[in-house]
């Protein structure tokens, strides 16, 4: 029987081990390379979305088939978003934004399937994605503008005394971006899965109480179904939010002056 506490669904366990690498002659200081369930679902997400996009656009029909249309809608949706929030120069980063969106979307949706592992409920995954985005923003901003990138922290058209207040706030808000970007995705997916599991647990524990409990367990069951619908919306929305925030931050790197 599967464990019923709400947090054990996020356990990472080893599926198979590649053995220890990097150990010295005493066999110490090495680390074990393992393939975990988290890695399995990350690979599954990448394989799923890549094969779908490759196979559906293989025909390159002038009149798109149904599967090709889904890929084209996805492309147009993200391309429009990048163009409106980061400008035409931002389209250089379209592959990054599209990959992030597609990966997070498919990983979230895979995680919604019962007994499947939600990759984005691990803070290390979302933090890695957020740090990748911030790394690209800082690297591109400094490479393109040099010290001009610091104009990001100095809004134009503000009297000098207020600058002493505004600049620290701008710096603080920039520093909190990777934190909020990673915690938002992580917190949403984690909280959603825990709430879903808690309501599903109510069904089990109520129906164990006898006939009256079984009748009463209809209520949490209906709630669990409704929450699944809400979670599907949140999963799609968080992927979109991550993509739109990425393109807004990239816009800052491309045009640092306010």
């Amino acid at each position: 029987m599967a464990p019923t506490d709400p947090i054990s669904q996020f356990n990472i366990y080893t599926l198979f081990s590649f053995g220890t690498v990097g150990a010295d002659e005493n066999g110490a200081n090495g680390f074990e390379l393992v393939f975990t369930n988290s890695a399995l679902f990350m690979v599954a997400s990448v394989v799923l979305i890549s094969s779908y996009l490759i196979l559906s656009t293989r025909g390159r029909g002038l009149v798109p088939s149904r599967v090709q249309l889904v890929s084209e809608i996805m492309y147009e949706f993200i391309a429009n978003m990048v163009r409106t929030s980061a400008g035409n120069e931002g389209m250089a980063f379209f592959p990054l934004v599209f990959s992030l969106f597609a990966f997070i979307f498919v990983a979230n949706m895979l995680g919604m399937y019962p007994y499947f592992f939600a990759v984005t409920s691990q803070i290390i995954i979302t933090a890695a994605l957020a740090l990748l985005v911030m790394g690209v923003v800082i690297f591109y901003g400094v490479w393109k503008h040099g010290f001009g990138f610091l104009k990001l922290f100095v809004p134009s058209g503000i009297p000098l005394p207020i600058m002493f207040i505004v600049v620290p706030i701008e710096v603080l808000s920039f520093l909190s971006r990777p934190l909020s970007l990673s915690l938002r995705l992580f917190g949403n997916i984690l909280a959603g899965h825990i709430v879903l599991k808690v309501f599903a647990g109510f069904v089990v524990s109520l129906s164990a109480l006898g006939a009256l409990g079984m009748v009463g367990s209809v209520l949490p069951f209906v709630m669990a179904v409704a929450l699944t619908g809400l979670k599907l919306l949140v999963s799609a929305l968080q992927a979109y939010v991550f993509a739109i925030l990425t393109s807004i931050y990239l816009n800052d790197a491309i045009h640092p002056g306010h």
Binding site: I7, M81, S180, L183, R184, L190, L237, Y240, I244, L245
Partner: protein, 74 residues
């Protein structure tokens, strides 16, 4: 008081912060809706701004939720 009990109470108190995020999100969507009804033609062009405001507000609520999880599970 038992330390374990204090931990659960603390986690409960930490989630109060989500109420503020709830108020903020209600204001965002309410104001968007009232503006969208007055000028429906301009509504769709402001959708990304809506989502941006929603995301930034929501992050603050998620912070308090994460604090609650940290109290509970670490």
């Amino acid at each position: 008081m038992e330390p374990e009990a204090a931990r659960y109470i603390g986690a409960g108190i930490a989630t109060i912060g989500m109420g503020g995020a709830g108020i903020g999100m209600g204001m965002i969507f309410g104001n968007f809706l009232s503006a969208a009804i007055r000028n429906p033609a301009a509504a769709s062009s402001q959708f990304s701004n809506l989502i941006f405001g929603f995301a930034v507000t929501e992050a603050l609520g998620i912070f308090s939720l994460v604090i609650a999880f940290m109290i509970l599970f670490t």
